[in-house]
Each structure stands twice: as structure tokens, then as C-alpha cells.
Amino acid sequence: MRRFRASLLILPAAALIFLFIVLPYVTVLVMSFRAPGANGEPYGPGFGLQGYAQFFDEGYYLWSLPQSLLLGIVTTFVCLVLAYPIALHIAGARRRWRGLLYGIVLSPLLIGIVIRSYGWTILLGNSGVINSTLRDLGLIQRPLPLMYNDFGVVLALSHVFLPFMVLPLLSALQSMDPAVKQAARSLGARPFTIFRRVTFPVSMPGVQTGCILVFVLAISSYVTPALVGGMRVKTTTLLVVDALIDQFQWPFGSAMALILAVSAGVIVLIFARLTAMKWN
């Protein structure tokens, strides 16, 4: 009886989840199986697999999927490589400095994602800060292709999502008993060996969390690829929005969104399996 009443406490949360997560997903799922609409209707009467068929039939759409996933994976990797030294440094810093460094890492989050992405276009554009400086210095004749390509998108995405990698890494590193490293040292391990055999493996839970976070955020991002990629880097999210809003084809857009979500889920699962920690 007590147990039952206590479980009532999760009802509000359960209701919220149902209303705002389960219901929309179900709607999208159902929508993806509707027949396409005619005469400007978003969808037609009855059900069908045309939404999915269109995605797999046309290379233009199909190829956006590996492109998106690869963009996500590369961004995640770049974030990890950039974030790890930052997290190590902050974890090892004196308490006095730690707050300041923390603030610097978090500061990108204070500025909206649109403005941050726009900032990158100012830097990377053909007549942007970098290119015009290099041209004025006489180092280049023609602008370097920094934007409207995968390079620019990965760069901007990595910047935008870096804090989401640093924070879990930092929390993993800080929860590590400093005596563990001393123990390794007293057993004869040199600094690099300690990092390779102790610090890094012990921080694996943070690596895992950070990678999953950044990957999921990166493949589902819209604003940054749209602005920095200038619609020339075709990610699945861009095509989904295009299908839903511009082409006004709800079943097709929904089908694409689901395919992207499922693919991302599979990759996250594989990653989690590969990095599973028996000790944790």
C-alpha cells in the first residue's frame, strides 16, 4: 500500500513525459506511414510506405544519412581530442583558478547558438576575417574554402558542443582519488604510462557520456550546418526541415526523421557496447 502511494509521486513526471515525448514520437511514427498528399495537402488519405521509399530511392536523400553520421562522429572525435587536455588542466588547477577556467569553458553556452554560428560565418567566410587578413598579408591570392564545406561545419559544431564534452570529462577526472595516481607512481609508472594505463581508463565513464552527448547533439543540429554550411553541406536534418516546411510533405519528412533517429540510436548502442566497463 505504502509502495503504491509512493509510486503515485512519479505520476506528474510520467504525464509530462507521455505528453511531450511519447505522444509526439507516436504522431511522427504514424505520420511517416501516411500516404503522400496531393494538391498542396501535407498528407493524403490512407497509409503507405511511400515516405520511406522516397528516401531510399533517391541517392540525394540517402547519401545525406552517412554524411550526417560521419559529421557527427568526426565532430565528436574533434571535441574529445580538444576537451581532454582542457579537462585535465582544469582538474589539476588550483582551486583559485578552477572557477575562472570553468567559467571560460561554459561561456559559449551563454550566447545563443544562432549568434555563435553566425560568428563563425564572419570568421570563415570568403571575405571573412581570416581570408581577408591572409589576403592583405599577401599570403593567398584566392580565398581559402573555410566555409560552405564539411571543414567549416565540423569546426563550428566542435566549438558549439565543446562544453558538453568538457563537463563530463571534468567530473570524471575530479571524482578520481588523487592517491590512485600516486599509487601508480610508487609502483614505478612514469607520467605517460600513468595516463595511458590509469587516468584515461578511469575517466572512461566521462568519455562515454561526453561522446554520446556531443554525437547526438551534432547529428541533430540544424542551425550550425544551415548557417556555416550554407545549405551546401546536406545533412539529414536540413532535408527533414526542407521536406516538412518547404515541400510540405509530412509523411516523407517524418520517415526521414525516424530513419535518422534510429541510425543514431544504433551507433550510440554500438559505441556503448564497445566501451562498456565491467568495473563500473
Partner: protein
């Protein structure tokens, strides 16, 4: 087997001097405890020996070789931490193998030595477990085996039992002590628990404020403390300040209230005026109110299984007496107190002289 010598070891953190010139010799295979209150510099001493802290001044010698500039990883030390500091992502066997792998031993030898070490601490059935799946006592034994399996020159332990419950702590005391004797390794053990230091060590080093107050066998630290502070830190101490009646080669006669006297049959230099003497609670016996050296009234009585602790109000102030349960007295009862004069210990710091009192 290695001998460790600290020579005028000084450690400064900015302006604070954590160690103010520590000199100590630890012999081959000796078990020495560093005992002292929090902040007295026990851990700092250990960290200097291990190499985790650089010394500001002085030398650390292993077998007459100065190692104070060597890196910790080159000192060949086995260290056990209060938090155990096991590698959480390695099994028990992997934890033990780590130090041997660093020494680039052959796989076969590693397996063999790890196996022997696990047997030594009775952990063979737990070889494939991760530290999280072990009890505190088991983790402690892994930490101990991990430090010993590399056959280090010396073993350093920093409050290794502080996180265990009382019963397990008693068990581990004996376990560590036996193991140390069996292996015969020179050991320095840090603790703030005087009971632990007493039961385990060959020698106890009492430290206060970054200095060594006394380094002696447990019995001597207990019975013959170098100062009042040592006397009070190591167990319960009754300290009496008594007027000196006579003082010659034969001994010192001390005056007691009611015209009685106590004679310490040992010459005490410079004991004129008054002399501070220490009596441990079990060195005072309860007697008939008419007999004994001193009269008193029992104000508190605490039963603790094997014996009873009495707090007695006397003309010389409150005293603590530990008596066997067979000899029982009630609160409020008048009693006589009988001192064992042969075990009264004069405290040098408390010796007053006639001139300085005048």
C-alpha cells in the same frame, strides 16, 4: 632489507614549516610508527620519504645512499594509502600485476608472483573481482599485497586502518604485523591512534608540531614519556606536582598531603622545589580509606568489561584509577589510593627549582 635514515629533514609549505628538522633511523626490518595529533606532520614525513613532496632541507638515506632527489617511481617503495587507492578498472590480479609490469618482468614470473601474493593475503578466490565488489578489509589487503608484491625496499603505510570498523581494525592490526614480520620488510606506519601504534610497532615515534618528541619502544613511551605532552597523548596520565623533601643519590622523597611521603628510588637531576610525576591509571590501586598514600572520594565510575575506571576527587585534584572488576567501589564512596612508587615517572619538563620558585 633496507635501513632508512632521515637527517634534519625540513619541509616548508610557503611560510609554514610542516617539518622542523626530523632525524630518525629506521633499522633493517624494523616496524616504526609515527604517532601524533592531526597536522603534526606524519603524512608529510611519509610523502617526503616516498618522494611525493620535495624536501626543503636535510637528507633521506636508504642504506647510506641519499635518495632525496630521486623521483618517486625510482625509489622502489611500497605504499599503502588510507583510501586504498586501488585501480578501480583493474581486477585484483591486475592490480597486483601492475607494479611487476612496470618492472618489465616476464609474464610467467608475474603470474607466479601475483599468485603467491594473493595467497599471502588470502585473496586467491577474489582474483578476478573488481575493487568495487570487495569489502573494506579485502580492499585493504589488496592494497597491502600490491605494495608488497614488488618486493620494495621499504613499506610505507598512511593510516591504512582508519576507514575500517573497530572489529576489523583489530583483526587487520595483527594481520599487518604478522605479515611484516614474515616478509621482514622495513616499515614506517603512520597513525594517530596510540593503541594501534603500541600494539604493532617495534618503536613508536611521537610527533608534535613537526618535531619528534620521543622515539622509543612502546613500553618506554608509555611508562617513561619524555614530556607531559607525550604522557598525555599516549594513554591516560595522572600528573601530580609534588614538593621535593629530599633529593640525593638514593632517590627523591616527595611530600603528600597529611604528612605522608612517596619515595622514588632513582636519582632525578635538578629536582628541587617541586617535581611533576606521572602515574598511569592502572598504576594506582584502590585501598581502604585509612590506608594508602592519598585519600579521595569516587565521583564517577565507568564499567568497561575487563576493568572499571574510577574518577577520584583528591586533595591533589581529580585522578583516574583503573581497577580490576573484582575490586569494586561505588560512586560517592571514600577510598584510599596506593601508588606504585617504583613505576612513578618523573617528568623532566615539570621539574621546578627552588630558585625559580622563590
Amino acid at each position: 632489507m633496507t635501513e632508512v635514515s632521515l637527517r634534519s629533514l625540513v619541509k616548508r609549505y610557503g611560510k609554514t614549516e610542516a617539518l622542523k628538522g626530523i632525524s630518525l633511523n629506521v633499522r633493517h626490518g624494523e616496524f616504526v610508527s609515527l604517532l601524533g595529533p592531526s597536522g603534526c606532520g606524519k603524512s608529510t614525513t611519509l610523502k617526503c620519504i616516498a618522494g611525493f613532496e620535495e624536501t626543503s632541507d636535510g637528507q633521506i638515506l636508504f642504506d647510506d645512499r641519499d635518495i632525496s632527489r630521486k623521483l618517486p617511481e625510482d625509489r622502489d617503495i611500497g605504499m599503502v594509502f588510507q583510501s586504498y587507492a586501488l585501480f578501480p578498472h583493474m581486477t585484483v590480479a591486475q592490480n597486483l600485476a601492475f607494479g611487476l609490469e612496470m618492472r618489465r618482468l616476464q609474464k610467467r614470473e608475474i603470474t607466479e608472483r601475483v599468485g603467491r601474493a594473493m595467497e599471502m593475503v588470502q585473496l586467491t578466490p577474489y582474483a578476478e573481482r573488481y575493487p568495487k565488489a570487495l569489502s573494506g578489509g579485502q580492499q585493504q589487503r589488496v592494497a597491502l599485497a600490491r605494495a608488497l608484491v614488488i618486493e620494495p625496499k621499504i613499506l610505507l603505510l598512511d593510516e591504512p586502518l582508519a576507514n575500517l570498523d573497530a572489529k576489523l581494525r583489530d583483526e587487520m592490526r595483527g594481520f599487518i604485523r604478522d605479515l611484516q614480520k614474515r616478509v621482514g620488510i622495513t616499515t614506517i606506519y603512520v597513525t594517530h591512534d596510540q593503541g594501534e601504534a603500541m600494539t604493532m610497532s617495534d618503536r613508536v615515534v611521537v610527533m608534535f608540531d613537526g618535531e619528534i618528541a620521543q622515539a622509543a619502544a612502546p613500553e618506554d613511551v608509555y611508562d617513561k614519556p619524555a614530556s607531559e605532552r607525550v604522557a598525555r597523548f599516549v594513554g591516560n596520565a595522572n600528573i601530580l606536582e609534588l614538593p621535593v623533601r629530599t633529593n640525593d643519590e638514593a632517590g627523591v622523597e616527595l611530600g603528600l598531603p597529611g604528612g605522608l611521603s612517596l619515595t622514588i628510588q632513582r636519582p632525578v637531576p635538578a629536582a628541587n622545589g617541586t617535581l611533576g610525576v606521572m602515574a598511569r591509571p592502572e598504576q594506582i590501586a584502590l585501598t581502604d580509606p585509612a590506608a594508602g598514600h592519598l585519600r579521595g572520594r569516587i565521583s564517577k565510575r565507568y564499567f568497561s568489561g575487563g576493568h572499571v575506571e574510577y574518577h577520584v576527587e583528591t586533595d591533589l585534584g581529580p585522578l583516574v584509577v583503573l581497577a580490576p572488576t573484582s575490586q569494586s567501589a561505588k560512586e560517592g564512596e571514600s577510598v584510599g589510593l596506593d601508588f606504585d612508587a617504583s613505576r612513578l615517572w618523573p617528568l623532566p619538563g615539570r621539574t621546578g627549582s627552588a630558585e625559580s620558585r622563590a
